[in-house]
Amino acid sequence: MSAPRILSREETDALGHALDAIRDDVLRDLGSRDVEHIRRIIRLAHHSGAAGRLLLHVGIDPVSFVCGVGALALAKILENMEIGHNVMHGQYDWTQDPALDSKSYEWDMVCAGDDWRHSHNYEHHTFTNIIGRDRDVGYGWLRVSADQPWRAWHLVQPPLALALALLFEWGIGAHDLRLDEWLSGKQPFSKLRARARPFLAKARWQLAKDYLVSPALALWNAPRVLAGNALANVARNVWTFAVIFCGHFPQGVRFFTPSEVANENRADWYLRQLQGSANIEGSPWFHLLSGHLSHQIEHHLFPDLPAARYPSIAPRVQALCKQYEQPYTTGTFPKQLASVARSLLRLSLPLPHRSARHASIRSDFSKHLVDLCSEQQ
């Protein structure tokens, strides 16, 4: 893939207008089929969840156990990805339906809805991929960009990443606590405690629901239900981890320094989203199970458009990237996973790892800045 061309102010603004036009086209076209889609998925998730619980609770054989875990995991994945994540983004706020309201929706996982709305909808989507501002870059623990300084603990980041994959909901849940800032002394304990309150309350009830109430209802089948719930949660964790890491940290995705993004306008923000995300190719079912975050580029450009629309606008976004010689990072799931794994392994070492491509962008960019300055003089 070629390095992105540095666009002039006029080109960037034209690209911004073209993207706004795509957004307006979708907004104009929103209607009953979008609502029907999300309601269908909500029903599917509920039915699948009920079927899973039924199989786990009343079955005694391993086949019904595996099917039960699968159905429950499917329900959790749909609820977290296509329903929870997307509804909380405000993708269905235009319907004015209280059941699809972004501010009051609460999802079925240990991360508290309000924490998520702050750390994800606001911080991550506004300051996407700005090192030091976007706390989703490596979640404070992992080194996913050569621009992040190397620390000794990065040596163990491959097993750390695996652990994070298994416990991903806990990582997300504790994300807004800023534990790393407390460890480095930047956050007093009192503040950490205040931040932890909603998370701990949510986590307590989630643990009670999956590992106390639900097994208790199964009476003699309690151990089976407990194990099934745990497996379904882990399956959902690994899946979301994989989708999210493939959308943000494969090779080809760009990161930014705060000085690069000073005085950004809306078009610059679009450009940063475009360069800072990656897509995953797959079937319609794959897209659905990823909450359409397999179209991370489109999602980052238009976080509050109904996600099921992303596949239909992707060709237009891709055509714009071609026209403006911008990267449109995409690949199959195995390819992107391998790319993320390679990155995590390589960046665990303290080697000066700025790739040649990165260096060239950076030097192009500084050259461009120098040009701009000299033009103004």
């Binding site: 307006d24 907004l27 929103l30 209607g31 009953s32 089929r33 979008d34 609502v35 029907e36 909500i42 029903r43 509920h46 983004h89 405000g90 706020d93 235009w94 319907t95 004015q96 339906d97 209280p98 059941a99 309201d101 972004s102 501010k103 609460e106 079925d108 709305r117 702050h118 909808n121 606001y122 989507h125 506004t126 949510k202 009830w205 009670a208 629901k209 109430v213 809306r266 923000w269 976080p303 509050d304």
Partner: protein, 381 residues
Amino acid sequence: MDAFYGPLDLVMPYDVRGGGVGACTMSSLRRFAATWRETATRRLFLREGVELWLHELDPIWSLTEIRARVVDVVRETADVKTFVLRPNRRWHGHRAGQYTTIEVEINGVRVRRCYSISSSPADPRVAITVKRVPGGRVSSWLHDHVGAGDVIVLGAAAGDFVLPDHEPAQLLLISAGSGITPVMSIMRDLAARNAIRDVTFVHYAHSRADVIFRAELDALAGHHPGLRLLVHAVDEGGRFDEEGFARRVPDFAERATYLCGPPGLMARVEQLWDQAGAALRSERFALPTVASTTDSRLVRLRLARSDRAVAVTTTGTLLEQLERAGERPASGCRIGICHTCKCRKRRGAVRNLLNGSISREPDEDIQLCISAPCSDIELDL
């Protein structure tokens, strides 16, 4: 089967009534249990689950919403239909003259409109009578798409266009066009309680054929000698004029008066009452008018929760202007993507600065960081 059975209450509102030390302990225990149950219901996602399964069983069953099934649609005149609704148990009745908010889903968007209830409170079925407004989204939708068996969402009955508890001896009801609906509810209520003692009912319509509920009104006038019915057809020269009105109802100023009709008529009637030094009660429905996009002018922004009024301009975003006024509403990205500043607009019109669309219905959610006011507005802040 009659679908009038509401679902179980998962969250029981407990009456806390005092009386002795034992009762006090009991009441605090109950309060504790109620809070705990509320939390458990929310945290274990029981409400969402139950709500969904109830909906699967019968679409009007709900723990949270007043939903009603349309049981009959009556064509009243060429452009007026009455929708007879059977609400679920969330509905707690209405007083004659009140309105309800009806919520229909048009192309995926829930739209709300206020309609006066035309039925008597004694009737377990709730009727709304809707005139098709040319270009009106909701009225046209109701006329064209809603039939028996459909389900719509209602709001709790509201409004103070009602008779006082101590009912006045002499009553004057004035209505025009579809403004007859709340007045008809009052009439039906009086008739059901056999309480029509001295009522003068003046109604204006475009033509005889446009008089809504004409047959029923005639029948009421036949049965109740205390009812004086004056129906005017504008096409027969029956237009409202002050002198003629004062001649036909000479004691108008002494009568407790209820008025509902189009703005023009209401203004003239109100003026007449002003001149006579008398008071009347009126009901009006009008959406705010929207200023042109370019000129900047001052409008009044009311913050409902803090009960504060702020002067704002029609060109700046609500978020910036609120912050300048010392308010700290929740906000995030300030470019319209994160929806942190989403807020319920109670009334008034605002313009979305990103795409120019205008929200003018009451009780719509808006994003403060990309909305500018177009009229006096009230926010749920």
